[in-house]
Symmetry: C2
Subunit: 157 residues, 2 copies
């Protein structure tokens, strides 16, 4: 029943992946090039929609496109050892934890600064003062190398 071919719009609606992103995924090789109808329109099957849903789900869990590439490969490989999938998933969990820790550190620092700020009409502001002073100089134990330096992985989500 799902063997009906459909255009990109319907595939987008059914999968939850925008038509724009379907084309994008095709262009970067994440999904194979869709066959074209005589009109030049891309033609998708129910199976393709299934794949797109897989991709959307993986994206919503924060997997990068290259990770999804691997996941798709494992998904299609009926004889994969589940060990490899689990390793991928747990590695991603670790990444998520790392990013959560980084954001948490930012939040904590900022909250501490904000806690000391009156937040009224007066100009004195420990928040601005805190930003103006290098992070390490604000510590009780003056560890020279600023271990508080965090490097966001250039990947906002």
């Amino acid at each position: 029943m799902n063997d009906r071919q459909m255009n990109i719009g319907e595939a987008a609606r059914r999968s939850g992946v925008s038509a724009r992103m379907i084309r994008h995924y095709e262009s970067i090789g994440l999904i194979p090039k869709a066959p074209r109808a005589y009109s030049g329109y891309r033609a998708y099957s129910g199976n393709d929609v299934h794949t797109l849903r897989f991709i959307r789900q993986a994206r919503s869990l924060g997997f990068s496109v290259s990770q999804i590439e691997q996941l798709l490969g494992l998904w299609r490989d009926q004889s994969r050892p589940s060990r490899r999938v689990k390793a991928l998933a747990l590695a991603h969990v670790a990444e998520l934890e790392q990013r959560i820790r980084e954001l948490g550190a930012m939040k904590r620092t900022l909250e501490q600064l904000a806690a000391h700020c009156h937040g009224d009409e007066r100009p004195e502001c420990p928040i601005l003062d805190g930003l103006a002073v290098p992070a390490g100089a604000r510590r009780r134990s003056p560890a020279r190398p600023d271990l508080t330096q965090i490097k966001p992985k250039a990947r906002a989500c």
Copy 2:
């Protein structure tokens, strides 16, 4: 002693902002155009370095460039009400919290999927199955009621 003018490289070293990013910040108007020596080299003062450190610190706390623009404005305005700074900071804390929540939700979902995966040589894999099924349709897994119901917070191996 800090009135000495310096080239971009030294300003970068002293502030912790790369020369590249200093030029970038200048080009997008976050910092004013640096005066040029006869050679065409940009000339920076100790004050400029101070500003750059402020920027670096704000970036490391996750403020966006446009937010930093506002913070710089408040920093320079000696008569700002600290209320406005605090509002900015707390709004950013809320953003951070939001992102942390999102990442935490991803992590939790992924951990739950991983917890049910044996992670051995066999191909069966609840992780891939979970990705293949739309999120809403995965309330319970009737296939293995013993695992899903007994272990609420199963930890992955």
